[in-house]
């Protein structure tokens, strides 16, 4: 199975977008004749692997390298750098070019920025006096298609950059990417945004629309509603451990650009120490079926499937079969490799989920989310620090506690900060500073309204039946993610009915109609989606684009898929995000790496 996901079943024609990206990349490579060394920003390698196969690159005479500060070793006389516009990478490139000059190497260097040229980066190149020895171009890759309903802008640091450095470059990027989608699929008539960054994106999107208008008249909009949501609005969800199959795989094995890498022995291949890459996307039919289920249920489903297969096998050996029955059986056998793959993975996961420490942690997360017994939670975290458990997992709980309590009492705050510095080192003064700036771990200044929000939006659902769920709460075995509750509302009836609640959450909210397509009075149309469905041809489902600014977890994506699969839902959801993350990936950029 290919790692590049199959997009044939996508609700909108995403395949054409990917083909365009492919073409653009190949054109760049073709225009540089002969053999060349392609030096890529390590963070881009995942994105590229979702666009073209390495074999295709090789066909175009490419020798692939990762960009680092080390001098470049290659026989090629042509070097093509493909990097994102990040300042620190420019230093590496400058080093390379100075190195070429000092060694007297005649190399022709090309620098392609993704997705566009950057003034600040070029400034560094100028200061380093290497700007003139580079041919500079751009590769307009604004998004990568992770799956048939997931788009990633590949901005893993967007959240931290926005909140800590106030560098909003990513917001422009997001708006531009949405605008690009609009130029293919028409102007999106309804826009709902919550959070400061979301509103800014909506604003930039409007500006881009006036600067380079998408023709409103000739394309019927394929996407009816755009929902923009800041991660800042809901930091609770990503801090909790995901319990869906795909989410759990991510928590334990770190899904990276649609695949996980793990020891071959886990997958039943007897080769010591070798790693294997397992792709995880909708092209794998079994995975498509079980990825969004609660892990508990996955085990049962796999068991059932195995049993039924065993039964079939038994039937085959005992009774006489017609040819067509045999054919059916053989067909089933074809799914055997997928079965084995997921049984292996599930088994590997259960070794983690059955650990008391894992269960204890889940217990603690629930206690915090339910906002009960603050003291127990505080002591639990204190003990984690004393035991010097991994910093990020401590921080996850700490952030969860701080966010639900809108900060910690000053005494506790100072105490825990000191304990953290003592246990993990003084370099984390910067980490703590970052977290404070972002409001993730801070001093309590006002009463928390988490309880109100939790109750009003019905975030904690008792008696969740994970096997036959009737609510999104199944993804966290009883906690319905705040972000998805908001989206559920936004799709169903707009922001109006929950305005009071929205005010309790960080950032402003907005709701607008665009493109002058508004028929009827604007406020009656707030239930935009269902209305549009009535108007659209029967059987055509409307499409909602949900954009998470700052990242989204697999569990949340699963919850959204659950929503659109409900019988009454007449819409498909396409998720776009700065990056698919989990709590660890989200907090990682905050952790200072000084040593």
């Amino acid at each position: 199975m290919a790692q590049i996901p199959n997009l044939d079943n996508a609700p909108i024609n995403l395949a054409s977008l990917r083909e365009q990206s492919q073409r653009e990349l190949i054109t760049i490579l073709k225009n540089i004749r002969g053999k060349k060394c392609l030096v890529i920003d390590p963070n881009l390698s995942g994105s590229l692997s979702l666009i073209v196969q390495t074999a295709v690159l090789k066909e175009h005479g490419v020798e692939l390298r990762h960009l680092s500060a080390e001098p470049l070793e290659t026989e090629c006389t042509k070097v093509v750098y493909l990097v994102r516009g990040q300042l620190d990478l420019m230093k590496h490139i400058s080093l390379h070019i100075h190195d070429n000059a000092s060694k007297g190497l005649q190399r022709e260097c090309f620098l392609y920025f993704v997705p566009r040229r950057s003034v600040s980066c070029e400034q560094i190149l100028k200061e380093e006096k290497v700007h003139d020895s580079l041919t500079i171009g751009e590769y307009p890759l604004y998004m990568v298609l992770m799956d048939e309903d997931v788009i990633s802008f590949e901005l893993e640091c967007a959240y931290k950059e926005c909140l800590v450095d106030s560098d909003t470059s990513s917001l422009w990027h997001i708006a531009k990417a949405i605008h690009k989608l609009e130029s293919s699929f028409g102007l999106i008539p309804n826009v709902r945004a919550k959070g400061k960054a979301s509103l800014r994106v909506a604003d930039i999107l409007e500006r881009v629309q006036t600067e380079e208008p998408v023709n409103v008249s000739d394309v019927l909009p394929e996407i009816s509603t755009l929902i923009l949501l800041d991660r800042e609005v809901d930091m609770v969800t990503p801090m909790c451990s995901q319990l869906t199959y795909e989410g759990l795989l991510d928590e334990v094995l770190h899904v990276n650009n649609g695949s996980v890498e793990l020891d071959a022995s886990i997958m039943g291949v007897q080769q010591e120490g070798r790693k294997v890459k397992v792709p995880l996307n909708s092209s794998d039919k079994l995975f498509k079926e079980i990825r969004d289920l609660n892990f508990e249920v996955v085990v049962q489903v796999l068991r059932q499937k195995a049993t039924s297969m065993k039964q079939d096998y038994a039937d085959i050996t005992t009774t006489t079969q017609t040819v067509s029955e045999l054919k059916d059986f053989v067909k089933k056998l074809n799914s055997l490799p997928e079965m084995t793959r997921h049984i292996n993975l599930a088994q590997h996961l259960s070794t983690f989920t059955s650990k008391p420490s894992f269960l204890g942690r889940l217990d603690m997360e629930h206690t915090i989310v339910e906002s009960e017994s603050y003291d127990i939670c505080f002591e639990y975290i204190e003990e984690m620090i004393h035991k010097q458990e991994p910093l990020i997992s401590v921080l996850r709980l700490l952030v969860l506690l701080s966010v639900t309590n809108s900060g910690l009492p000053k005494k506790h705050y100072d105490y825990l900060r000191r304990e953290l510095l003592h246990s993990y080192g003084f370099e984390h003064m910067a980490t703590l500073n970052n977290l404070e700036k972002a409001g993730l771990f801070r001093k309590q200044e006002m009463r928390s309204n988490w309880l109100t929000v939790k109750r009003a939006l019905h975030l904690v659902v008792e008696d969740t039946d994970t096997a036959n769920p009737n609510d999104i709460a199944y993804v966290f075995s009883g906690y319905a993610p705040l972000s998805i509750r908001l989206i559920q509302q936004a799709i169903r009836s707009g922001w109006r009915p929950i305005e009071e609640i929205l005010k309790l959450l960080p950032g402003p909210h907005s709701e607008s109609k665009r493109g002058g397509l508004s028929r009827g009075s604007s406020f009656e149309l707030l239930s935009g989606v269902s209305n549009n469905v009535d108007k659209a041809a029967v059987g055509r489902r409307s499409i909602v684009l949900v954009v998470f600014i700052g990242g989204v977890t697999f569990a949340e994506i699963s919850a959204l898929r659950f929503l659109s699969s409900q019988e009454l839902a007449a819409y498909d959801i396409v998720v776009a995000t700065t990056k698919v993350v989990n709590g660890q990936a989200l907090l990682d950029p905050f952790v200072e790496k000084l040593t």
Binding site: L87, D88, R116, R117, S118, V119, S120, Q123, I124, E127, E161, D165, S166, D167, T168, S169, L171, W172, A175, R200, D203, I204, R207, T210, E211, P213, S354, P356, L359, E382, E383, I385, H386, K387, Q388, D414, R417, R418, E419, L421, H422, S423, Y424, G425, F426, E427, M429, A430, N433, L594, T595
Partner: protein, 904 residues
């Protein structure tokens, strides 16, 4: 007037042929006599039909005859020469002037010919260059004062620039408004030393010959420099005498893509280009005059013995030859379309086609022939005529006696207008071929210059359409549209007499840009609107022209006028208008205009260029495009002194933050200055503290070397700065501790001779000390940093477990009652896999739940179950049972206990 009709037509499967000799129908009509004849064989069988058709043809001839009467027949083709304009100018005698006429109905430049001796009437001795439109309406005039000798040649380029070449090789360029375009260009030194004597122009280039019979080519005036750059010297044909005549084949028609020059020398022709000279067509000449056809394929030439030759331009084939009465070369030789060649002598214009007798026209006054793609315009002192082959559709309708469906339809309209029932009869007759008849009428309308005739033809088409459902309606509409455009530009005030074919070749966009160029902005705007073209170009040009022309108008008034029009077009490029205003020296106006530009990426650079840094920064920030903000940032950074720069960005949060991000990565020192100037001491402190880590990274500085000192100093400096603000007490204390820790670690490294302490945390330092068995040092660290008993216990227990010193661990557990109970001891032992050791501490756990879990972890189901039952926690029981699910015996134990607890 006698007219003979010859026509084939088919009706009801019977072929009718009308010819002379057979039968005659005479009829007097407006003083003309029309002779109609019928083929003998079918005379009787078709006589009924014929009488009917005669009926129509005769009545329709009222119009038809007058139209066809103006035609001349050249072999089997008709030509016509309608007058388009009677010239509005006065007292212009083409004979005493040099005249340059632009093709595609372009302007006419006139200047007194200084190579002729002419009588001056009441006029100044200074010459005037006058520019007229094709109808003779003056557009502009200017006095010719240019130095450089005689004006050798003058011609219009494709973009309607008038090129005037004088003897010394200087090229003066004028726009259509007779304004000299600076700078004047030059053909270079060789033409300066030896005067230019002859020039041959094409599209946008020229080939010149100087007195030394050397040839210079300007392939494109646009790429020509003032000192002769861009002039290409052609290969030297080494001539002793001037060539008899010259012609060029345009670069677009040559194989090489470079211009090819034809020189008639002796009885042959030399083909000259950049690379060489080649003799072609030996024996065709001597040639007195040559001209290349519009498509570059044919050459018309006049020989010394009075023959007109038409040859393929590669001299491989003579197409035809015609002997003229005179051996004197014609004054002008021109192609009329691709069908015939015009020769003009003093008072005769001769049109020669490949077959048949030539047509003769007589002119008393001098004329100028202007070749167009589909004919020739003939300019005389008083009129502008257009000589053109009559198009097929027009012939089919108006040819005398024509019985084509189109002619019948045209006739039917006439009947209809006169309320005659014959109209219906006609229609019935052509029912089947109505679409083609309609098409012919529409097509013919397009070729007419006369508006009333256009209308009649279109009405005929429209009348036919009423009876025919399957004709495409848009063809008709399209034609109406085109004709409206053509009629509008043909009006004498505008004076662009384009034929429909020329219009199609020129394209609407070029026409509009020509109108703009001639300052007919309103018409251009209306045409753009009418044709659905982008009006932006027109409005932009208007705005720039307006700015140039309104030097005296105050900024505010001009701005109102400009904005009023600019807003007509959505998405107009305000930035470019603003740029023009700036170049015209109106910076304030530019600033006001750029304010209206919606596209930030255009607006911002312009604001910078007009010195509006603040505004540029604000706009860039608003746009959300951080790249644009950086652009402004670096611009200001370079231009302004640091303090002013700091002040500017301090007020703009996004700019400030981006500056910080950039400097953090690249320019630390400057950033420090910035924070100091802004009084943000804590930020400076953070910077210093960060720098201290850079010292740490230096391999020379770490691990117990004296370089350690500066690092600690930096941290202490940071500490002091943190202490300046109340909010940073925590950071200040942390920095204090950090410095202290480093000192201590440094000492430890010296005393243990192991470089493993620096940069580890306090907890790690304690653990390392214990692992190394240095309990005193560990204790010292503990007291120095006031490590809590809780943490101390965890650390020490784990450290002892690491070195598996179980005795020491037990001793430690008995030192005093552990402040956090025995949990750390249990966990450490279980993690190390020492069940036996763990069992020492599990019973001491206070909480039965913890006990249960601990037993469960080391697989002691019974004990676990007992503990759980003590805790009376059914949920815990359930969980524990699950973890023992592999073990049947254990499961049953849990079940019994659960039953005992009364849990189902």
């Amino acid at each position: 007037m006698n007219v003979t009709i010859s026509q084939n037509f088919t009706n009801n499967g019977v072929q009718l042929r009308i010819e002379d000799r057979e039968d005659e129908v005479r009829r007097a009509f407006k003083g003309s006599i029309i002779k109609l004849t019928l083929v003998g064989r079918y005379r009787i069988s078709i006589s009924r039909l014929f009488t009917r058709s005669i009926g129509f043809s005769l009545s329709s001839m009222a119009a038809a005859v007058s139209v066809a009467a103006e035609w001349q027949l050249l072999y089997n083709r008709y030509y016509r020469k309608p007058e388009i304009y009677s010239m509005k100018w006065k007292h212009i005698d083409l004979g005493r002037n040099k005249v340059a006429c632009a093709s595609y109905g372009g302007p006419i430049a006139v200047i007194r010919d200084d190579s002729k001796i002419v009588q001056l009437y009441a006029e100044s001795a200074l010459r005037k260059l006058r520019i007229f439109n094709s109808a003779g309406v003056e557009i502009a005039e200017t006095v010719w004062r240019n130095p450089g000798g005689r004006l050798v040649a003058m011609s219009w380029t494709e973009d309607q620039t008038l090129i005037c070449i004088v003897q010394d090789g200087t090229i003066y360029r004028y726009n259509i408004h007779a304004e000299l375009i600076e700078p004047s260009l030059s053909l270079g030194k060789e033409c300066f030393l030896q005067s230019v004597v002859e020039c041959v122009f094409w599209g946008s280039g020229v080939v010149c010959m100087n007195e030394g019979f050397q040839f210079f080519c300007v392939p494109d005036f646009k790429s020509l420099g003032a000192n002769g750059d861009g002039v290409v010297k052609l290969a030297d044909p080494v001539l002793e005498d001037a060539p008899l005549c010259m012609a060029v084949i345009e670069p677009k028609y040559t194989m090489s893509g470079n211009v090819e020059l034809l020189l008639a020398v002796g009885d042959y022709v030399l083909l000259v280009d950049e690379d060489g000279v080649q003799q072609v067509g030996a024996g065709v000449g001597p040639l007195q005059k040559m001209v290349v056809s519009k498509d570059g394929k044919y050459l018309a030439c006049f020989t010394h013995d009075g023959r007109l030759l038409v040859i393929t331009s590669d001299f491989s084939n003579i197409i035809f030859e015609y002997s003229c009465e005179s051996a004197l070369p014609p004054e002008q030789l021109a192609w009329c379309g691709l069908d015939s060649v015009l020769l003009y002598w003093d008072d005769v214009l001769l049109m020669v086609g490949p077959f048949g007798e030539p047509v003769r026209y007589f002119y008393d006054d001098p004329i100028v022939l202007i070749s167009e793609c589909d004919g020739v315009r003939i300019l005389s002192n008083t009129t502008m005529e257009f000589l053109q082959r009559v198009p097929d559709s027009t012939v089919s309708i108006f040819k005398i006696g024509s019985t084509t469906p189109a002619a019948l339809l045209y006739d039917a309209l006439d009947h209809f207008d006169r309320r005659s029932a014959k109209a219906d009869e006609n229609l019935r007759m052509i029912k089947a071929s109505l679409p083609e008849a309609i098409e012919a009428c529409v097509d013919a309308a397009g070729y007419e210059f006369d508006i009333s005739r256009q209308r009649t033809l279109l009405r005929a088409a429209s009348y036919g359409q009423a009876f025919c459902s399957n004709v495409p309606r848009d063809r008709f509409q399209e034609m109406c549209k085109t004709l409206r455009v053509l009629n509008a530009v043909r009006s004498p005030e505008i004076g662009i007499p384009l034929s429909i074919q020329q219009y199609k070749e020129l394209t609407a966009t070029v026409l509009i840009s020509r109108l703009i160029n001639a300052h007919h902005h309103l018409l251009a705007l209306r045409l753009s609107d009418y044709l659905g073209l982008n009006q932006e170009l027109v409005i932009m040009h208007w705005a720039c022209t307006k700015i140039t022309a309104s030097l005296a108008m105050p900024d505010a008034d001009l701005l109102t006028i400009l904005l009023d029009k600019l807003k007509l077009c959505k998405g107009i490029d305000y930035a470019r208008v603003a740029e023009h205003a700036d170049k015209s020296g109106r910076r304030k106006l530019a600033a006001a205009l750029v304010e209206h530009e919606p596209c930030s990426s255009k607006q911002v650079p312009l604001l910078l260029s007009i010195g509006e840094e603040e505004a540029a920064l604000t706009k860039a920030t608003e746009s959300g495009d951080t790249d644009l903000v950086y652009f402004v940032l670096f611009h200001i950074w370079q231009k302004k002194p640091s303090l002013e720069f700091f002040g500017m960005i301090q007020a703009k949060p996004l700019a400030r933050d981006l500056f910080i991000s950039y400097s953090r990565c690249y320019n630390h020192e400057f950033l420090k200055d910035f924070f100091l100037s802004a009084g943000e001491l804590q930020e400076v402190a953070f910077l210093l503290w960060r720098e201290s880590w850079d010292y740490g990274k230096n391999p020379m500085a770490s691990k117990g070397t004296p370089l350690h000192g500066p690092r600690i100093k930096l941290i202490e400096k940071a500490r002091d700065l943190f202490a300046e603000t109340k909010e940073q007490i925590f950071e200040s204390k942390a920095a204090e501790e950090h410095a202290k820790l480093l000192r201590m670690q440094h000492e430890l490294e010296v005393s243990t001779k192991q470089a493993i302490f620096v940069d580890s945390s306090i907890s790690d330092t304690i653990r390392t000390c214990i692992v190394l068995g240095n309990h005193r040092a560990a204790m010292k660290v503990k007291t120095e940093f006031k490590v809590s008993e809780k943490r101390w216990y965890w650390l020490k227990v784990f450290a002892l477990a690491t070195i598996r010193d179980w005795d020491a661990l037990e001793k430690f557990s008995k030192e005093k009652r552990p402040p956090i109970g025995y949990k750390p001891f249990v966990e450490a032992c279980i993690d190390a896999g020492e069940k036996g050791e763990a069992l020492k501490y599990i019973p001491k756990l206070a909480d039965p739940r913890e006990r249960a879990e601990a037993y469960a972890r080391i697989g002691m189901a019974k004990e676990a179950a007992d503990a759980a039952s003590q805790a009376k926690d059914s949920e815990l029981l359930g969980r524990l049972k699950l973890s023992f699910s592999q073990n049947a015996a254990a499961t049953s134990i849990f079940d019994t206990i659960r039953e005992r607890l009364g849990v189902s």
